[in-house]
Amino acid sequence: MKKNRLISFLSIMILIIVISPEVDSATGDLLIIAHKNTPVSRISPDALADIYSNSKTKWSNGDKIFVVMLKRGAVHEAFVHGLLGTTSKKLIAIWKRVIFTGVGTPPKIVRTEAEMLDYVANKKGSIGYISSKSVNNEVRVLSLR
C-alpha cells in the first residue's frame, strides 16, 4: 500500500512538472530578469541562447537588448551550463569576437548579483539572471517557456 502511494505521489509530481507550461526558473532557483519596460513576460531557452550569443539584438518593440552577465560564480555557471547549454569558455569566445571585431555591443559584466539587479533595474532593454533569494520588485522576472 505504501509503495503504491509512493508511486502515485511520484507519478503525480512528474505529471505536474511535465504539463506545467511555464516555470519561474528553469534551473533550481535561478531567475531570468529584465527591465520593467521589457515587452515580454516569457522567454524561451532558444531565445535566451540567441540573446546571449549576439544572434538576437532587439526586443519585439524594437528596443535594443542590453545583455548583462556575472563575471563568475555558481549562479553564472548554473545559467551558462543549465540554461544556455554551453560552456563559459564558448560564451567568452563569442563575446570576445564581438568586442575585437566590433560587430556588436559587448555585454555588461558585473561582479555581484547586487550590481546585476541595479543595472537591470535602471537600464531599459537589459536582461540578466539572478538567484531567487537576491531578486527584488525593481525588475521583471521572465517566465521560461
Binding site: S55, K56, T87, G102, G125
Partner: protein, 409 residues
Amino acid sequence: MRRFQGVFVVLLLISAGSVYAWDSDDVSIHGFASTGFMWSDHYNFLVASEDGSFEFNEVGLNFGAAIRDNMRIGLQLYSFDLGEIGNNEIKLDWAFIDYEWKEPLSVKAGKIKTPFGLYNEAQDYDMLHTAVLFPQGIYSKNMRESLISFQGINVYGKISLGWAGKFDYDLFLGTSEIDTDGGVAKLISRGGLIFKSGKMDYLAGNRIKWHTPLKGLNFCGSFIQFQMKYFGQKNFPLSTFNPALPDQLTVPVNVILPLNNAYTYILSVEYSFENLLFAGEYYGLISRESSYLDLSTLGGGARVFVGEEDSRLRSCYALLSYRFNDWFEAGTYYSIYVVDEDFDSTDLINSQKDFAFSARFDINESWLVKLEVHFMGGAAYILEADNPDKENDLESHWTLYAIKTTFNF
C-alpha cells in the same frame, strides 16, 4: 611614435594586474598583445624563418561607446610586426559609427573589417581561434591588407526564417589603400619589378550566413568584386625600345598594373557541437591583370599597353578543433592552394599543401600559449622577395614551427 608604443605597452602591462577590461557605463576599453616565434627547415616564410625569427607580434587596443541606445561608435588601434612588414607601426584597424535601426536592417560607416568568409574579421586576434596561422591560401598574412578592411559603408542585418533557421547578411561598398611597404608590395615586387604604390579603387561585396535549423550548423557564402591598381618601376634594357642600343644600358620605366573586374568568393560550412568545431571553406580569386608602361620620359606614350594575363587562384581547407577542458584545446587542418588554371596541385611552384597541428593552452582567462607545426608541400606561398633563389632551390616538403603567446583584457 616609439614613445607612444612604449606607453602603449606599459598600459597593457599595468592592466595585467586585472583581468577586467576598463568599463564604465559610457566607454569600454579592451586590448590584447601577442608575440611569437617561427622557424622553418627550408624557405623563409612570412618572416626570416630559416634562421628563426621573433618578428611576429600584434598589439591592439579598442574603445567603444554608446551614443544612444541604437547608435554606437568604436575604434581599434592595431600594430603588428611580421618580418619586413608591419614593423609595429600603429594604425587604425577599424573605426566606425553603427546605427542599429532594426534587427533586419542596420548600417555601419567608417573603416570596417571586411565581412568575408568565416574568419576574415577575426584572423588578426590570436585569442579567438585555435591555430596560430589560419590556412594561408585564403587568409594570407602577406595579402592581409588588401581585404582585411575598407573605408565605406556596410548594411547588415539578421532575418528570421522561422522553422528554416535564420540568416545574417552584409552588403558593403568602399575603397582601401595598399601599403607601400606591406605584404602586397612584397608579392608584386618580383622579376625585377619594384612596387611603388597601390590602391583599391573600389570593392563591393556581400556575405550571407545561414544558421540552419540544426543547431551549430551554418553555411556561408561571400562574394567581393573589386578593382585595384598597382604602380611600380622596372629597369628595362634600352634595346627593348631601340634595338640599335646595347642591352647593357638600362632605364627605369614606370609600370602600371590595373586589376580590372576582379572578383573573389568563399563558400563555407561550419559545424560546432559541444566542444567540437568543424569548418571547411573553398575560395577562388579571378582577375585579369593588365600591364602598361609609361614611356613619356622616353618620348613615348604615357600608357603603352604591354599585355594582359588571366589569373585564377583556388584554395580550400578542412579544419577540426576540440576543446578538451578549460585549459587545453587542439586543432588540425589540411589546406590546398593552387595558382593555376587547371588546379594542378602537383605543380611545386604553383601549389601549396599545408597539414597543420595546433595546441592551445589557456593559462587563465586572459593569457594563452600556442604551439603549432605545419607540414608543407610545394612553394606557392613562398615569395621571391623573401627567397631570391627560390626557383633554383625548390624543396617539395618542408616544415614550419610556430609558438605564440597572447594576453588580452
